[in-house]
């Protein structure tokens, strides 16, 4: 296949990306056993430039390729027919450029909802439909769920999203800023802001200090710890295990309050900026974080052990919402959810940098069910606490580093890609610049983009009352998907 292999956070000239004939690119994508990271179009005069990026997780490389498509092209043969991993990408491409992927098994809107859309239907005396949302009973984001059930059993769940599509990608091109980047998906503030800043720095080939890099990674791990603990509490709350819910909620607060002390925001807003970070972690703060994390680790250990000893909790978690590894691979589930299904993908380690190189993850035995999604969080919390402590140790030698180095101007006609493993999974940001060195296209892929379909598969043949438990286990982002 004709491609250029790049590393994470590497800038290349657009002219260095091989332009392949569209049909041959499609054929190669369809048979490739590498998973897609991106498949998106960009205006190119009277044509559309289609960029594709494949992830070679073993080598830690990203294979970028492109094709030029005539704007008058009406339709093409769908890749999804042969390779299901492209089903979301092709739907998105169709929605943005209107070129019909012929033979796509389920071509429906991704973000732009049509009132005329007909949901998948089952007929029969016993089947009934349950429609949930987009306005929900809890204070959560909007999404519509359509269940086809027979009695209590769910046969099919169809998920409709896009209710808060804000046109983030276009906004990014017009007026890129850290404030915008960290507001795209509020629960992954650090991951989004880090990916954005890295892309911006790559485009100008700016360097930032090691200390700033360390602080970013510490914040990223702390975000993971906080959200994972909060989710563990929410999972237990959904099965009415009150003790767990409250203990985890209290513990999570310890972590985010420490974040508040570091950056002035409990979610770390304003911490990361293009060129470095805005706030320092000094020795005193470092000690504070370490003692806080020891306390957190202690509580989480005790609570998790107590919860998993409770037979009522285990009977709810085990064998609920099973997604087999084959299904997960076919759908290209990524991040924590992928790992809970037995796919060992973690962009922190697959696209390793100097900091994660000497950190080690403990192996996780996936059971593919709600229990797996609970215990992967426990494992990752413990791992991340270890990581933070090690990263803080590395900080000691780097106290004198600058927090912020003035970033350089973007290099014209560049392409840069950044992958950050947020708590949900890989957050991919891609940016290109035009001839004047201005942003010409900004593309974001949240892990939820891959994983929403996994949720639909998880609830099949489960009780409809188990849906909230599955949903909480996946805990996918609506705004990260809707953009």
């Amino acid at each position: 296949m004709n491609y250029i292999a790049i590393k994470n956070n590497q800038r290349i000239n657009i002219s260095d990306i091989p332009t392949v004939e569209f049909n041959s690119l499609k054929e190669q994508l369809a048979i490739s056993n590498l998973r897609p990271l991106a498949f998106f179009g960009s205006d190119w005069g009277d044509k559309i430039k289609l960029y594709t990026a494949l992830a070679d997780d073993e080598k830690g490389e990203i294979l970028v390729s492109s094709a030029l498509i005539d704007k008058n092209l009406k339709e093409y043969d769908s890749i999804t027919k042969e390779n299901h991993q492209y089903h979301m990408f092709e739907r998105e491409f169709y929605e943005q450029f209107g070129i019909l992927p012929k033979g796509h098994p389920w071509l429906k809107p991704v973000r732009k909802n049509l009132d005329s859309y007909e949901f998948f239907k089952m007929e029969g005396e016993q089947t009934h439909q349950v429609a949930v949302g987009p306005i929900h009973a809890g204070v959560i984001e909007p999404g519509h769920f359509r269940f086809m059930c027979s009695g209590e059993k769910v046969y099919n769940l169809e998920i409709m999203l896009g209710y808060q599509h804000r046109g983030v990608e276009d906004l990014m091109v017009k007026k890129p800023s850290n404030q915008l980047a960290e507001s795209i998906c509020g629960d992954s503030t650090i991951a989004y802001n880090m990916a954005y800043s890295q892309v911006m720095e790559s485009l100008g080939e700016s360097v930032i200090s090691t200390k700033a890099k360390l602080i970013r990674r510490i914040a990223l791990e702390m975000e993971r710890i906080a959200i994972h603990i909060g989710d563990m509490g929410a999972i237990l709350g959904d099965i009415a295990y009150l003790m767990g819910k409250e203990v985890y909620a209290v513990t999570r607060t310890l972590v985010i309050n420490t974040m508040l002390e570091i950056s002035g925001s409990r979610f770390g807003k304003g911490l990361i900026t293009v060129g470095g970070v805005n706030f320092d972690i000094d020795e005193k703060m470092s000690d504070k974080i370490i003692s806080m994390l020891s306390q957190v680790k202690d509580t989480v250990n005790k609570m998790t052990k107590a919860a998993l000893k409770s037979s009522t909790v285990m009977s709810r978690l085990e064998k609920t919402g099973v997604v087999s590894k084959d299904t997960a691979l076919e759908l290209n589930l990524v991040g924590m959810i992928g790992r809970s299904c037995g796919i060992e993908l973690d962009s922190r380690f697959d696209f390793c940098d100097e900091f994660y190189k000497d950190l080690e993850k403990k192996p996780f035995k996936a059971t593919n069910d709600a229990y797996s999604r609970f215990s992967i969080r426990y494992r990752e919390v413990k791992d991340s606490i270890r990581f933070v402590k090690k990263l803080l140790k590395k900080m000691e030698e780097r106290r004198a580093d600058a927090l912020y180095l003035e970033p350089k101007k973007f290099i014209p006609d560049s392409f840069a890609l950044s992958i950050v493993e947020g708590w949900r999974g890989e957050v991919v940001h891609i940016a290109t610049t035009d001839g004047e060195g201005k942003l010409s296209r900004y593309k974001i892929k949240d892990p939820s983009f891959n994983n929403w379909f996994g949720l639909a598969m998880a609830v099949r043949n489960n009780g409809v009352s188990d849906f909230p438990l599955c949903n909480k286990g996946f805990d996918l982002s609506y705004c990260g998907f809707d953009l």
Partner: protein, 309 residues
């Protein structure tokens, strides 16, 4: 006789007011186990009064059934409360075989709750109604068997004769009492939608049972529905108390013991809700079948005693 009248009046007042405090105590207990201060015990009462100030919002798809359902549910529950023995085993209306009227008046209210929920045409409420109906069909016969066999044992058909078990039958009565009380506890958790059968605090419509049936009720209607549910809880707790309390105690002692048992039951429910997770919907049936099997044990024990097999 005058004494009975006085007790009846006190009973009725308890029936009307106790629900708020029972729910308040349950919430306080849950707060305690969760390490929170929690809201005041009076809060359910304030919530109830607040709902009276609110407007009723009625869906345009509903018919008159939806509008009258809350009133019917409250009236039937109160009506059933008149037949149930409370302090000192005194029922306000004491007639022979009152437990049959009691069960069916409650059943009538349940029917209207179900029909009222289905009248909204909402898929949630239909789902909740189907779950509730399903559990009720198992609970009702079991409840009937327990009451019928214990009452038959005492020879007369007054509802209050469930208080005589321990005196009349000694250790045998104690055995039946223990089994019957456990069965009634299961019924209490299920009928009053508490954990592990239902989760009264959840906001997830798909998992609810009782709450989802009153999802469309607002203002006064909602107040009446929650009140009726609380009254039902107090009635069932009163039944359990009467199984336990011997009837030869003095009025003061018996009354105090009655209130104490209701208090302890509220503590037990609160603690249970803090310590265990809710069952999977399919396991709830197994849990309720526990009540059925215990009911059959009570029936066979009673038969052994009566016919001396």
């Amino acid at each position: 006789m005058e004494n009975n009248l006085l007790i009846s009046i006190v009973n009725f007042i308890i029936l009307l007011i106790a629900p708020f405090f029972v729910i308040g105590i349950i919430k306080k207990t849950k707060a305690f186990w969760g390490g929170r201060y929690g809201v005041s015990i009076m809060q359910p009462l304030w919530d109830f009064l607040r709902l009276f100030k609110k407007r009723r919002v009625i869906s345009t798809t509903t018919s008159w059934i939806f509008s009258i359902a809350p009133i019917v549910v409250l009236t039937t529950t109160l009506c059933a409360g008149l037949f149930a023995p409370m302090i000192k085993g005194v029922s306000i209306v004491d007639v022979e075989a009152a437990f049959i009227i009691f069960s069916y008046v409650l059943g009538f209210g349940k029917f209207f709750a179900l029909v009222g929920a289905m009248d909204t045409g909402s898929s949630f409420e239909g789902m909740g109604a189907s779950r509730e109906a399903c559990f009720t069909t198992i609970i009702e016969p079991a409840f009937f068997i327990i009451l019928a066999s214990t009452i038959a044992l005492s020879g007369n058909y007054n509802f209050s004769s469930i208080t005589n078990l321990v005196q009349n039958w000694g250790s045998f009565g104690v055995l039946i009492t223990i089994i019957a009380v456990i069965a009634l506890l299961v019924m209490l958790l299920s009928e009053c939608s508490r954990v592990p059968v239902d989760d009264p605090t959840t906001h997830l419509e798909l998992t609810m049972i009782h709450e989802v049936m009153i999802l469309d009720n607002s203002g006064v209607d909602l107040a009446l529905c929650t009140w009726a549910n609380g009254i039902k809880m107090v009635i069932l707790m009163g039944l359990i108390a009467n199984f336990i309390i011997p009837n030869d105690l003095s009025l003061a002692l018996s009354g105090a013991l009655f209130l104490l048992i209701i208090f302890v039951l509220a503590l037990i429910i609160g603690t249970l809700e803090s310590g265990i997770a809710r069952f999977r919907m399919s396991h709830v049936f197994e849990f309720i079948f526990v009540m059925c099997s215990f009911a059959l044990v009570v029936a066979s024990l009673a038969a052994v005693k009566m016919f001396g097999v």
